[in-house]
Symmetry: C2
Subunit: 241 residues, 2 copies
């Protein structure tokens, strides 16, 4: 099992990793950030070399305060993307006994939502790439499965939380917002009913467009009214779609 390591235990211990599913949205499609394994000479990336995978890595027992810290640290190291601990939502644990050929590794999957425009610049293009949701390659380990579960988790969470805040740019249009919800929930809405519902929630503020529009063909820009949103959320708000 172990080779010449200096850390010994009275009974076998598994290795623990954190993996990150980072979702973005470009106004058109959901995107996911992936890394190519083995490009860099990292000690532990000796499996699945050359394959695409989720960013992630091993818990550092003496350093990572929680597994979320592992996720944040590894994401930063592997993709250059620096997120806060609070940006990570836990998806679940994947612990199949043979999911890693090297040793027993259980991984705690996380997902994070990012404003694509803000982070594309800080992403280390040498190591990582954004993939459209409908164009994801086959991934290493059981990362295909993890990705599916993470997405379905996002799909659940959207009923209780403001994913728009995190995925959309500061200002956005109603059609963009609708497309985002449609992309995540994989359904279609009636444009007018969607607009009515949003108006009813009163969480959007119309933005004075810098480029003074002459007509209505160019969609109106909005921003989230965070105060209203947070208040509603505290009172047991539930976004219905």
């Amino acid at each position: 099992m172990a080779t010449k390591g200096q850390y010994t235990y009275a009974y076998p211990h598994p290795a623990v990793t954190a993996d990150c599913v980072v979702f973005g949205y470009d106004g058109k499609e959901i995107k996911v950030l992936l890394i190519k394994r083995g490009k860099e000479k990292e000690a532990d990336t000796t499996a699945y070399v050359g394959q695409w995978a989720l960013p992630g890595g091993f818990l550092e027992v003496d350093r990572d305060k929680t597994i979320a810290h592992t996720a944040a640290r590894e994401l930063k190291e592997e993709t250059g993307l620096k997120l806060s601990i609070k940006d990570f939502k836990e998806v679940g644990t994947f612990s199949d006994i043979n999911r890693d050929p090297r040793e027993r590794v259980i991984t705690v999957a996380h997902y994070a939502l990012v404003k694509l425009a803000n982070v594309e610049a800080s992403t280390d293009a040498e190591k990582a790439e954004w993939f459209s949701w409908n164009d994801i390659p086959h991934l290493a380990f059981d990362h295909d499965k993890i990705l599916r579960v993470a997405f379905s988790r996002l799909k659940q969470d959207i009923h209780f939380e403001p994913v728009g805040f995190d995925l959309l740019p500061e200002t956005f249009t109603l059609p963009q917002l609708q497309n985002l919800y449609e992309s995540i929930l994989e359904v279609k809405f009636d444009r007018r009913n969607f607009a009515n519902k949003m108006k009813h929630y009163a969480i959007l503020s119309e933005v004075e467009d810098d480029t003074p529009r002459h007509g209505t063909r160019t969609p109106v820009k909005y921003r989230f009214d965070k105060d209203n949103y947070d208040r509603l959320k505290r009172n047991g708000f539930q976004l219905e779609f």
Copy 2:
């Protein structure tokens, strides 16, 4: 960190445990199954001796196919209660660096719903006890926190899944069902509206009561119409409350 163990690794590994929050319902209150630590001479229960805690224990790296298997195995060993792997729902990972005084231990919390009447007999009373939700003692480790998170997870899941199936006895009354939902969601419903909604879902079948009632004061007994329920669930059913 380690003492004289024979399992060595090139870098530190955490220990991994599974903990179980087992919920029951006695027709009146939500109950939770707890164990008293250190009653038995177990190798690893040297911490928090004498305190109440959630059932659970260490992942056996070479034996437990998944962490859910750990949960099931440990629950059986510690309380006598034998549940299927599929009965466990993962709540989340708890990984604070100092949550266990002995070594770095991260735990994967699970919850399970059981029919109290069915399992009370098979629970090893020497080791485990059922506690009313409103009368839970202070627990070992971070188990208080785990318990709270597990309950809030149950509260979420109830919107999408049939908890009644798992917690209620085969036949039950409408007031019992209502009380169960009220207990979990911590709200009160109008009796008549609750009945209407249930009738509308058409997942209940009236049961010919063995003790022939003369009046209506004794509530009518129902059982779940599992076929109808499963069909609705497949089609994207969502219990609304």
